[in-house]
Symmetry: C2
Subunit: 511 residues, 2 copies
């Protein structure tokens, strides 16, 4: 068995069953091994950022990490932005990055570069395989590291793939999450019982179990229940508890957090502004608020919530009356307001919503709150071009569940190649392009950062309407049924049709 | 004047007049400054890899560096692959990468990352601006460094943009290239006069002046004249000398270089295989060949050739009879053979050819050799997704010259967003998609690396024909007239029409 096969078999042994790939020559032995290890499914992408975003979306839904297969430093470069998003979410992911054969690497071939330097800022764990004999064990460690802490990147020289290995190895035990000490639980209980306290959850604590625990704790202590603005996977809808999202805008977030006596943090950090603005604070919490870290990222958040629930004597359940579902709009020209209402009205039960709606996101979050139970995935690392790849991977990771991809037109163009993989794999993704023909978030941020002047040259760099893009045409050109709609009735029938037909669809909503 | 304006004015003072941009919030002050510094033209791209590839193509044609404007680490990540290609070519380029405000950066906001770690493997020069007062001088140094040695990356914290500066600074003197010592010139002269010697040129030595000097030296010494496989910009056609390209394939390159007494290197390094293969050498030159470095990259190659020409008593000119232009094929189904002949037959004088034809490249190089004088740009860093961005930038950098972009279908999909910028700017680029519906280079390399097995799963990862892409449709959806052709007469009329009409065109050639 060569090193490549030992890597692939070890991935399979460790529970990795999907590999989102865009390989090159240095990865050919890994590609060849796919036929000998049928339990790992290769999914081809036409661009590496699709592979990495798909691995992120996959793991958020499946729980298990996916692998990516990438071609040297530039291949990882193309994947970087969405690996970064996964890194910030601590999504388990195993990047397998091919490199030149060990003796070839220092000779300065065109594709040679310092791969470790590129991958490190977006990887919780990095290793370069020494040779074919160590490749399998390195792979097992990579998967264990991914399960424990997020993005693991394994660099595999070509000759570690083609030389003789010592065979595959079984899965390694995953390091257990650091348990939270009793003192932290007691301190959180004391803090939450103060009048004006709040509990802020992120990461694993926004799962169905986490939200339920947090709501029970909030109910008995009287604390407010907040969640991170951009949670990796928020369980919501139906009768699930509804933690309030910290607003994106610095001034609104400061307002939302003002006057709190204490803020207990679970699988998140103290709230920080997305960007800095002249004369605005970077830290969002009131300086007088007592910040209490119950569980930091990497610690056992759910275990800590269980312990806290016991400590405060939380009830066994809380009853949350479901919100009324938003009414289906009936006519008129399409705008973001009625578009988001249409999505809220028609969202199927058990849907997975992937939100890269950017400026329109707030409305979609609001209007889908009354829908049935669903999962809502947010952009965790701020790097746009994530939504369509993540929706692709989410559909692979959650077969049988409808995936709704809410995508701003500007963001869509970074990784538009996702559509081809959706068509190839027959994935049940409905992409809604919110087409306002501009980088609206930049138009908005432009004044907020205090940028001077308001001239033509600056606004040219935020206007993507010249020439006008046709997303329906782009979809059709990649094998996905696509249509453009500009009124409410057209949108309603397009969305109904997309949700009723299997396979991918794209609706270009002109707002 | 704020720091952002001081940066932009200093770029202008230093001769940078184009900025290929995909900005975000942290770059808004730089965007705003564009209206106050009209001598820097902002060119919007929908993806950062288009911006960096365009900057590469621009500088190869214009001689001056362009700037890119990129959004933090993930923005540079998206740009990385084409920055890498420029880095390998030592193309002058100034990447301006926004970052969080200094006090905001360590707080762990979603977009925060170690940008220097990501940029360093693809940058000859890196600096993070300290504050608004130092921003202008840092910018001037970045441009000087780019002109001297290639890729310069300047990281600009947001507050260095919005705070008060000390004003712009004038251009700094560009460090002169290291002159080549007389001993190296004498040694090269001795080496070239031996029977069986060859002169191998790369980098600046493949310019019109370099090729002419090298041919005159070869004529008087009797040495063979070779060029790098992938030269950044090869002056050729008409009566220009024709150095022989070192073949891409290791076995053919070894054959081409075998038995040489000496090999004199000018602005290149000893030949190295593109990839390593089991049982094949990485170093391509015959071990018995005497390698003589006349000028290494970063040294004054043209000055060295001038000195060598004088030393060997080269003639003032050499007469190279032009090759006969390839005949225009007349009918039948389209294939790579007649497609390349059509391009050779119709290539306009003074064209700029950007070659990312991958497996078809050899044929295009051969069939265009008999055309009139033109420049031919090769992929220098091996990272595909370069051709269409580079053609975009080349058209901006060489106004009035027709740009022919030869693009394999697989490679085209990495940076397909280039077409939108071509339409927006009305650039005279004719893109020919060589559509074989596969990653043919991988099918080819698969067996060459000795990959075992030949199964379905492996070949699935090289087949991009399911679903079939429509490049004509993709072009139309981004504002570029696009058509699909599958026979010789259709191709001939499509190419004639594209060359006769101003603005961008795309021809999807089904081969």
């Amino acid at each position: 068995m060569n090193g490549a096969e030992s890597v692939l078999r070890t991935l399979a042994n460790s529970g990795v069953s999907v590999c989102f790939a865009n390989p090159g020559t240095s990865e050919m032995h890994l590609v060849a091994a796919l036929d000998r290890v049928p339990s790992v499914r290769g999914v081809l992408t036409l661009f590496e950022g699709v592979a990495s975003g798909a691995a992120d979306g996959y793991a958020r839904m499946a729980g298990d990490p996916a692998a990516t297969l990438l071609h040297l430093g530039p291949g990882f470069g193309n994947a970087f932005a969405n690996v970064h998003n996964a890194y910030k979410a601590r999504t388990p992911m195993v990047n397998v990055v091919g490199d030149h054969a060990v003796a070839h690497k220092p000779l300065g071939a065109p594709l040679a570069s310092d791969i470790e330097s590129v991958v490190r800022p977006a990887s919780q764990w990095v290793r370069t395989v020494r040779d074919a004999r160590s490749a399998a064990l390195d792979t097992a460690e990579a998967v264990a590291a991914a399960r424990a802490s997020g993005v693991a990147t394994l660099i595999v020289p070509a000759d570690a793939g083609w030389e003789q290995s010592l065979g595959a190895v079984p899965a390694l035990a995953v390091p257990v999450l650091s348990p939270v000490p009793d003192e932290a639980v007691s301190a959180a209980a004391v803090a939450l019982r103060r009048p004006g306290a709040a509990l802020l959850i992120g990461g694993a604590a926004t799962s169905a179990r986490g939200v339920d625990l947090a709501a029970r704790i909030a109910a008995v202590t009287g604390a407010a229940l907040l969640r991170d603005t951009f949670a990796p996977r928020l369980a919501r809808g139906g009768g699930r508890p509804r933690p309030v999202g910290v607003p994106y805008l610095t001034e609104m977030a400061v307002d939302a957090l003002s006057g709190l006596s204490s803020l207990v943090l679970v699988d998140t950090r103290r709230p920080v502004g997305f960007f800095a603005y002249p004369g605005q604070p970077s830290l969002l919490a009131d300086p007088s608020t007592d910040l209490v870290a119950l569980a930091s990222p990497g610690e056992d958040a759910l275990g800590a919530l269980e312990a806290l629930a016991a400590e405060v004597g939380a009830p066994a359940s809380v009853v949350v009356p479901a919100l009324e579902r938003v009414a289906l709009p009936t006519g008129g020209a399409l705008n973001v307001d009625n578009l988001s209402a249409i999505v809220g009205a028609l969202l199927p039960d058990d849907a997975v919503v992937v939100d890269e709606a950017v400026t329109a996101s707030v409305l979609f979050v609001e209007r889908t709150a009354g829908a049935g139970e669903h999962d809502y995935l947010f952009l965790t690392g701020g790097s746009i071009g994530w939504g369509m790849p993540a929706a692709t991977g989410a559909a692979v990771g959650a077969p049988g569940r409808p995936v709704i991809s809410l995508e701003a037109d500007g963001s869509a163009m970074y990784t538009i190649q996702s559509l081809w993989t959706q068509a190839r794999e027959g994935l049940d993704v409905t992409t809604i392009i919110i087409a306002n023909r501009s980088y609206a978030i930049l138009e908005f941020e432009f004044s907020r950062v205090g940028a001077e002047g308001d001239g033509r040259a600056a606004h040219e760099l935020m206007d993507i309407g010249r020439p006008e893009l046709s997303f329906a045409g782009l979809a059709q050109s990649m094998g996905v049924p696509g249509r453009r709609v500009d009124d409410v009735s057209g949108m309603v029938s397009a969305l109904r049709e997309a949700l009723n037909e299997p396979g991918p669809h794209l609706i270009e909503a002109m707002v």
